[in-house]
C-alpha cells in the first residue's frame, strides 16, 4: 500500500514538474546553473574514477588471459567493451546517484524544512517545476557526455596501467581497443545513460521534496534517495539490457 502511495506521489510530482514554467528566462538561467553544478562539476570525479576503473579492468583481464594462446590485444578489447557496455554507464550511474542524488535530495530537503519551498508556493511559483525541472533536464543532458568522458578516461587508465605493470604493451592495448568495434554498444549505453540520468534526477528530487521534520530527516531522506536510485538503476539496467539486445 505504502509502495503504491509513493509511486502515485512520485508521478504526480513529475506531472507538476513538467508543467509550463511561469517565466522561461528564469528557468533557462537556472538550467545553466544546474548543468554547471550537477554536470560540469562532476567531470573531475568521473575522470578520476574512470581512470582507476579502466586500469583495474585492464589488470583483471590481463590476469585472466595469461594463457599464451590468447592474443594480448584481447586485454584492450576486454577493457573497452566492459567500459562501453556496463562500467561507464551503470557503475558511473551508481556513483553519480551517490554524488548528484544526495546533493539533490539534501538541497531540496533543506529547502523544505526551512520553508523555502512553502515560500515559493505562497508567491504563486510552481515549486516543483522551478526546482526540479531544471535538474532533470540538466542531468539527463549531461549524463551521455559523462558516459563518453568515462569511456575515454577508462581507456586512458588502461593505457597507463597495462603497460606500466607489464601486463600488455601499449601497441597491443591500442590494437585491442580498435579491434571489432561495435558502434551499437555505444548507442545502447547512451540510451541507458539517458534513463539513468532521469532516475538520478527524479528519485532524489522526490525524496528531498517531501521531507518532513528537520536535519535528521533530511539526512535520512538523502540516504533513502541514494539507495532507491541505485536499486532502480540496476532494475532498469536489467530491463534495458533485455529489451535492447
Amino acid at each position: 500500500m505504502n509502495f503504491f502511495f509513493h509511486i502515485g506521489r512520485y508521478f504526480s510530482l513529475l506531472a507538476r514538474a513538467f508543467s509550463r514554467p511561469e517565466r522561461w528566462r528564469i528557468y533557462v538561467r537556472k538550467l545553466f546553473k544546474e548543468i554547471e553544478s550537477l554536470g560540469i562539476d562532476s567531470v573531475g570525479i568521473v575522470a578520476v574514477i574512470s581512470i582507476f576503473m579502466g586500469g583495474i579492468i585492464t589488470l583483471q583481464v590481463a590476469y585472466n588471459l595469461q594463457n599464451p594462446l590468447f592474443p594480448k590485444h584481447l586485454i584492450g578489447l576486454g577493457n573497452r567493451d566492459t567500459l562501453l557496455l556496463e562500467f561507464s554507464s551503470t557503475i558511473m550511474g551508481l556513483i553519480m546517484a551517490g554524488k548528484i542524488g544526495s546533493n539533490i535530495a539534501s538541497e531540496l530537503g533543506s529547502m523544505r524544512v526551512t520553508e523555502q519551498i512553502d515560500s515559493l508556493e505562497i508567491m504563486g511559483v510552481n515549486s516543483a517545476a522551478y526546482l526540479i525541472l531544471p535538474k532533470i533536464i540538466a542531468v539527463v543532458f549531461m549524463f551521455p557526455f559523462l558516459y563518453i568522458l568515462s569511456v575515454f578516461f577508462g581507456l586512458i587508465g588502461g593505457l597507463i596501467v597495462g603497460p606500466a605493470v607489464g601486463a600488455v604493451t601499449a601497441t597491443d592495448y591500442i590494437n585491442g581497443i580498435q579491434h571489432t568495434f561495435v558502434p551499437y554498444y555505444v548507442f545502447f549505453s547512451l540510451i541507458k545513460s539517458l534513463f539513468f540520468g532521469f532516475l538520478v534526477a527524479t528519485i532524489p528530487s522526490y525524496f528531498g521534496y517531501y521531507v518532513e521534520g528537520g536535519a535528521f530527516e533530511v539526512g535520512a531522506a538523502s540516504t533513502r534517495a541514494v539507495v532507491n536510485t541505485n536499486i532502480m538503476i540496476l532494475v532498469f539496467d536489467l530491463i534495458l539490457t533485455q529489451l535492447l539486445f
Binding site: E115, D118, S119, I122, N126
Partner: protein
C-alpha cells in the same frame, strides 16, 4: 479584508482547528495568539492555502479561496506576501536577489525599475546598502526577518502574513520588527495577519486579536480589551507575565501622582 467561516482542519482524524470564524480587517495588524501547539501556525497555513482545510470557507475580499481552481489560487497568491518563522530566504541568492525574485518572476519591469523597487523595499526595512550583496548566511536573524519582510512586500501585496516574526529575536529587535510590520500595514493600507505568542507584540501592535486554544477560537478583541478579559484561558495566557497583571491593576486603580 479576509473572512473565515467555520473552518475545520484535522490531521489523521485528529481535529486541530474547530469551527474558527473571524474577520481580519484591512489597514490593521490582526494577531492570532495562543500557546505553542494551540493551532496558530496550522490556522495561518490553512488561510494561505499551504494546508487544505476539511471544511469551511476563506474569503479574500469576497473571493472564496476554498472553492477556487488551482490556477485562480495561484493568481491570488501573487497578492499575498508571507514572512516565515525562519525568514525562508533562498540560500543560493543574495539579499538583493531574494527581494528581486518575485519581481523577476511576475513582472515585466525593466532592470532599472526592478532595482529601484528592490532598493526601496530594503530601505523601507532599514537594510543598509552594504548588506545588499550578502548571502542570507552572512546576516543576523533580525536582518533575515527584515529582508523577508522586504521580499514579502516587493510586489505590493494587499495581504501580508507573518508567522512568528519575533521568534528567536531579542526584545529590542522584536520591537523593531513589530513596528516595521505595523508601519507597513498602515502605510500601504493592507490586511496583515501575524501569528505570535509574544505578549509584547500583542500590546504593541495588536489592532485586532484572535486568541485560540486547543484549536478553538476562545476570544477576539483589541489590545485594550485583552487586559480586562474574563476568559480564563486567555487570562492564564496574558497574565503568565506579571507585567501585564500589574499593568491591568494600574489601569483599574491609577496611582495618585
Amino acid at each position: 479584508m479576509i473572512r473565515i467561516e467555520s473552518l475545520y482542519k484535522s490531521f489523521d482524524g485528529k481535529p486541530v482547528l474547530n469551527d474558527i470564524t473571524t474577520e481580519f480587517l484591512k489597514g490593521q495588524t490582526n494577531l492570532i495568539i495562543g500557546r505553542s501547539g494551540s493551532g496558530k501556525t496550522v490556522l495561518l497555513k490553512s488561510i494561505v492555502g499551504l494546508l487544505e482545510i476539511d471544511k469551511g470557507n476563506i474569503f479574500y475580499d469576497n473571493r472564496n479561496f476554498t472553492t477556487m481552481k488551482q490556477e485562480d489560487r495561484k493568481l491570488l497568491r501573487k497578492e499575498m506576501g508571507m514572512v516565515f518563522q525562519g525568514g525562508a530566504l533562498f540560500d543560493s541568492l543574495t539579499v538583493e536577489q531574494n527581494v528581486r525574485f518575485p519581481l523577476d518572476m511576475f513582472t515585466y519591469q525593466t532592470a532599472g525599475e526592478k532595482q529601484k523597487r528592490v532598493d526601496y523595499c530594503l530601505e523601507r526595512v532599514n537594510i543598509s546598502k552594504d548588506a545588499h550583496k550578502l548571502s542570507p548566511s552572512e546576516i543576523s536573524g533580525g536582518m533575515k526577518k527584515r529582508v523577508a519582510i522586504a521580499r514579502a512586500i516587493s510586489l505590493n501585496p494587499p495581504y501580508l502574513f507573518c508567522d512568528e516574526p519575533n521568534s528567536g529575536l531579542d526584545p529590542e529587535t522584536s520591537k523593531v520588527i513589530d513596528e516595521l510590520i505595523h508601519g507597513i500595514t498602515v502605510d500601504l493600507d493592507i490586511t496583515t495577519v501575524v501569528n505570535t505568542h509574544d505578549m509584547n507584540s500583542v500590546m504593541e501592535i495588536g489592532d485586532k486579536i484572535l486568541f485560540i486554544s486547543e484549536g478553538k477560537m476562545e476570544w477576539e478583541g483589541t489590545k485594550t480589551d485583552i487586559l480586562y478579559t474574563t476568559n480564563q484561558k486567555l487570562q492564564e495566557f496574558v497574565f503568565a507575565n506579571r507585567q501585564y497583571k500589574e499593568m491591568r491593576d494600574e489601569r483599574k486603580n491609577p496611582k495618585p501622582d
